[in-house]
Symmetry: D2
């Protein structure tokens, strides 16, 4: 079927390709001419403006946004809305907050425009392996776009699902990412211990590779870890500086709001904050307190 892809960054461009390979007619748009040229170079059609993009689609239209969460999504919807017609369906495939998605869906549905929030997992590997798609929103709109989901997913049947009403897709993705934080931190801690005992186990990349086969901790994240360690066992040239995006924070806030203890996901987020501390005030105060209490000298910094 015909579909517009709005936002041709790494994720959007990859998904446009996978859709095109899956037999769909993709028209791409990005405000950056370079991004549009990149897609055109893959033999996929592009439009120079949102107006041209919408005009290029037969009604009822299907449009898919892969745009950064927050203001960019808000602005894209504001620009699109007057161009769309009742019966069109717009997808937000990014990492929006589920409450925003619920609000946007309600506003567009009042105009007869369908709105689906589709949590999308798979990262840069999705082009080759397929994306796990968590679809939230109107069931009929989801059914109408199912050929797109089938093309994007690893297999037509298992890699996507309608998980609930508006917001459910982004909610599921939020929790997915919270779990991911915890898993990543668990691996990172384990390998950090091992890194100190290379007297005993010299080949960390080899151990990671071994665990990929038959062990209880095998996972896709372990596959990545094994690859990263194989390429660069000493992790040289990489700063110990770990960003976090909104979804970890939202998971922590949601857990607290629901009175659900989530200590490990929460601590995983805090570890990322910690990685970005420079000359941490808390640690300096602890050192000062020790000095004042026990007469211990402090290390000068």
């Amino acid at each position: 079927m015909q579909v517009a892809m709005i936002g041709l960054g790494r994720m959007g461009a990859n998904m446009a390709q996978r859709l095109q390979r899956g037999g769909h007619a993709v028209v791409g748009y990005d405000p950056s001419p370079g991004a549009r040229e990149g897609l055109a170079g893959m033999g996929i059609g592009t439009a120079d403006s949102l107006e041209a993009l919408v005009a290029a689609l037969a009604v009822p239209r299907a449009l898919w946004m892969m745009v950064p969460a927050g203001e960019p999504v808000e602005a894209t919807i504001a620009a699109l809305q007057p161009l769309l017609s009742a019966g069109d369906v717009l997808v937000d495939g990014g990492n929006s907050n589920y409450l925003d998605s619920q609000r946007r869906a309600a506003a567009l549905q009042a105009l007869g425009i369908g709105y689906l929030d589709v949590g999308t997992s798979g990262g840069v590997w999705g082009l080759a392996e397929g994306y796990s798609l968590m679809v939230g929103g109107d069931v009929e709109a989801a059914a109408r776009l199912s050929p797109l989901f089938e093309a994007l997913a690893p297999t037509p049947t298992t890699g996507w699902a309608h998980v609930g009403p508006s917001g459910a897709g982004h909610y599921a993705k939020m929790i997915h990412n919270g779990i991911e934080y915890g898993m990543m931190q668990a691996y990172a801690e384990g390998f950090a211990i091992l890194e100190r005992r290379q007297d005993l186990i010299p080949d960390l990349a080899g151990l990671a590779e071994l665990w990929r086969h038959g062990s209880v901790v095998r996972s896709w994240l372990l596959d990545l870890t094994a690859g990263a360690l194989k390429d660069n066992p000493g992790l040289e040239g990489i700063a110990p500086w770990v960003p976090d995006s909104g979804e970890g924070r939202w998971t922590v806030a949601e857990a607290i709001a629901l009175d659900v203890p989530a200590p490990v996901i929460t601590q995983s987020l805090i570890e990322r904050l910690r990685s970005r501390q420079d000359n941490a005030y808390a640690d300096r105060l602890l050192a000062a307190m020790r000095g004042a209490s026990g007469g211990h000298g402090v290390k000068r910094g």
Copy 2:
């Protein structure tokens, strides 16, 4: 090749079968007649005593223990040692502390007896899918037993590796299990949040199944989780009571001994302790302190 399997519990019996299927001649031993009969019923030979077991093997012998860590392993080795000859190789495939394994290897190697500590991962699924084997100890002894490892592993080449000298196998397994604690806790927290929002996402088993395909959090533990949720979405009849074995504790102690922060693995262990608290004193004291400070009433218990 010929091999003795000592300890015919769930793990030992399964491994004996997989070895036999792999073309090896297994003789099993367990102090329990019922366990021996179970193995015999699968067409695998057994011996009624350690003496008979050792006598049934041609030298140089290969013997594999799947016996609970601690005293049972210690006692088994004490009983076996006078029966063995220089050139024999004994494997501890259980979850022993790596320092014990180093001590035992040194004692047996002084008698010319090889000793391998083989961290074994795969659980009850290993019979069908193969086991991930982390082999520690003498390289030549490991090479001699490699046909056994090849039969037990998911594939002859990728599912086992010699990871280092004596102790390395059990050290690797210890860290493996520490990571497993963290991963399990991350999933458990994520689904516990979701369980409160079944208004939004009614089918947790379906979401777990979806994530198995193409998502960043796909893993073997997620496969198990999806299966458990499919069978019993409400987890009814299961007490919120989580045991822990030694390896999580050893991982925590090792991290601290090495000055490596492992907050998530550590907290995962603490959560298991917490699950087994009954009428927790700490919480009662907090309630009492709140009452004394702010005049807040306490809930009577």
Copy 3:
């Protein structure tokens, strides 16, 4: 000076008494007749309505709210605002969110009405020992009400301070309470360990009392703890169920928003959530996963 006390719960009634004892002319108001009668029984004047209360005060007026945070404060201000005149000063001495206080101060200051957010610490002991007052808002309004602060504080000079502009007082109180959570949890954990070793140290109340004198961990919270343990060493009849109010949650959210790691304050909050879990889904899922992975039986619940 003349002052109105609005809200005659435990905190408000005590503060009204301490102000009256300090030589101020207090008029109290509470929607509950019983609360008003209670204050009147202490020889302190009351008014039957906010209108009567405001009418009883000479301009420029001073009014102090001790009202639950959230809707009650919002409603009280909405009712008071038409009754007040430029030059009056209204105090919120409760545990409001500092962002609400900033908003309210701006709205009232546009009408010429002063608004102070006064973080108030001291609990039920403040009547006898004085309250620690963290004053936020306009410096001149604070200066005008300083006789009230001097009467409420433990000493006229050390127990209160103007800590910053609007919101600063409640911000300081928020962090104060976050710290309190961490301290309480630290004591609770320490005594919970000791409780298991009464073979070695039989008298926990005695140890708490000892630590009050000269030890590094002496504190007012330890004074309370020692008192609670003396009264009820086994903490019998107290449920292990620990409420939390908004300030701990706000501290956690603020730390994350500022990228400041606050693992111990955060975990202290999570422990309170944990204390209120019943048949925790996360723990049941962990038990189910263990069963599925290792064939371990689960405890039936």
Copy 4:
């Protein structure tokens, strides 16, 4: 009464002075001539060797060690034992592991020599304010040395107590220090949040000072914090590097051994490990995993 002080570091020299001021006849010993001269300069007697020290005391003797835990205590006892007689009492006032103290007490008691493990809290402030003394061991030996405890404690009656049999004193001190870790971390986190909001609350030292008077978080550690912040509000020149001694680690290990959750004390220890990490491998691995998963660039380090 007559007493020997062995170990004239900061703690030992201060305690010798406080004992002498309390009317006791102190003889000090330290292997360092400078330490002995320091004490002699205060008008307190010293001995040049352990032999001379023991010879200077009338039987039955009282001797007090303030010597680093571990090998120094072990060596001191080994040197003293042949010099002592049945009926003498030796005190370990340092931070020994309680299991070591139990072993040492048993060995010495077999020779008729009393041995008391005395957890000593108060730091450098103990000279002026007195020490909190947690006495473990034989009741009669404790009673005989009570004049010493009375002189060292803040008041003769409240600042020391016999808390249990051998090991109980050091056990109590271990838990005391675990609690101290948690309290210090709670304050450090709170002030670290405040440090980012000096737009709102510019004077952290002033706020700490305010909290000392009437607030719920007032404590001796807050007194120290207020002093440290007053001297150096920006904590300039202090490295964010926090040592830990054995007692925090032992508390964590003991909690786990007893199945008691102690998440906050444990995390406080981990934060100290974290403060001493340089170029943390775990954080670099997390950054590498993010890069491999999402195609996110990593910060070069």
